[in-house]
Amino acid sequence: MISAQGLTKFYGDRCAVSELDFTIEGGEIVGFLGLNGAGKTTTLRILACLLLPSRGTVRIHDLDVVDNPHEIRKLVGFLPETPPLYAEMTVDSYLRFVGRLRGLGGARLRERLAQVVQQTNLEEVRQQVIGSLSHGYRQRVGIAQAVIHDPPVLILDEPIQGLDPVQIVEMRELVRGLKGRHTILLSSHILSEIHQTCDRLMVLQNGALAAVGTERELTARLTGSQRLSLLVRGHTEPLLRLVRSAEHVQSCEAEGADHGAPAESGLVRLSVTSSQDIRELLSRRLVESGFGVLELGRAEAQLETVFLQLARGGEPTAFPAPPQA
């Protein structure tokens, strides 16, 4: 659906984006991660046909951004870092204007307007002047203008920037709600957001692609291991011995436990690093040995560590795109 080959962009002598190669399949939510100045916004602006690449090719739905920008703009909805809103217009008149600008009219415009207003929860402010809206609502109007023409590709540049925690949760739900209908490219430097919203990550470092893959793939590739977290009832010492003796286990640590005796509650939390997925094997062995397994799962995201390593120049990694949705 979206492919870039050798995508390069210069601002004068400065190279903002260098030799990017990537493919994004239909229906995916892909997160662009990177420090400030890494080239996220430039890449998204090229995909939105706002900028022209200096070198390389970018194709959206088999159309080239240099040869067919007019056609591509019909297929793309774009929310820039600052939502492009006319403060003197009401939400309703603004969305009607954008809808018409993007080729809608008559019954189709009315239908899409009703859907988008409902989808973005803008009913109660529909007749309000945009200049009087809160930041959260403005961001919603920004999303609404991007999806009004129901584009197959949606590009959101820092959609949660400046939102409060409640608004972030609402925006996350909104973006998730758009999944399936649209292929979504999202840029953010808020790691937890990317982690919770996106199917795949692209990490940019100094304008180059440092890594592409799911969070799990990136973590495993970068650390060469998988981390499990267990909550087990039993004595710490025999528990550690048992787990450490299991196949593929690289390390096992008990968190905050006195190794000589069971914890006061009788529960021990273990952090296990293994070279392979050993969840099944480990759970069977623990139960057979008489330990009570209360929790066993992958450790929560190590995204921050991974991000910092990649963004600051960690080992470049590449993963194939997942099967087509």
Binding site: L51, E88, R100
Partner: protein
Amino acid sequence: MRNIVLIARRELGAYVCLPMGYVIVALVLFVDGLLFNAYALGGEAKLSAEVLQLFFAFASFMTMVSGVLLAMRLVAEEHQLGTLTLLLTAPVRDGEIVLGKFLSALTFFALMTLLSLYLPLLVFVNGKVALGQIVGGYLGLLLLGSLSLSIGLFASALARSQIVAAVTGGALLTACYLLYLGAGLVEPPLRELMAYLSPQRHLQWQTGLISSRDVFYYLSGSGLFLVLTTHVLQARRWR
């Protein structure tokens, strides 16, 4: 055409909704009235046709000032507020954006200029003039306004802020006027060319006479700056 009308309507709405439009209208009408009263009507006795000619001469100056002021926000403000992104990522040609904005400013300018119509009509209180002189004069103001707006729009596309746009537009218009003075300093055939390029050479309409040569000058000048503005917008995509 649909996109041009759509953009023009929105821009016209912005002129009506925002205070800037009213401030410019008030300023123009105030200065026009003041100059008309002090210089056109005042002083020694004149023929009514001379009074009108003086009125259109003062109104020409205010037309150029208001042209630059009305056009300064058209692109520069959108750039400052980030709303230009909306237009540049929509399936709309750059030429349509430029034409839409220009037409909205020209419509607003025409309405504003019509509001000053009571001034030349006052001549009828104590005198008599040909209606054709009034019609010709207003048509001339519209043509001069068109040129001023297109130069202002070009400056607005070049600049990153409205102030810089106004200063650039004003400087460009002044330079066009100075061409006429400069023409006296050079030898033919450059003299003829420089004089022709200056609006000063094309003010015959102030006497009520509209020549096709002047109409061509104003329309081609406006067209040239609109094309240049379109190229500036296109060039932004390479930056």
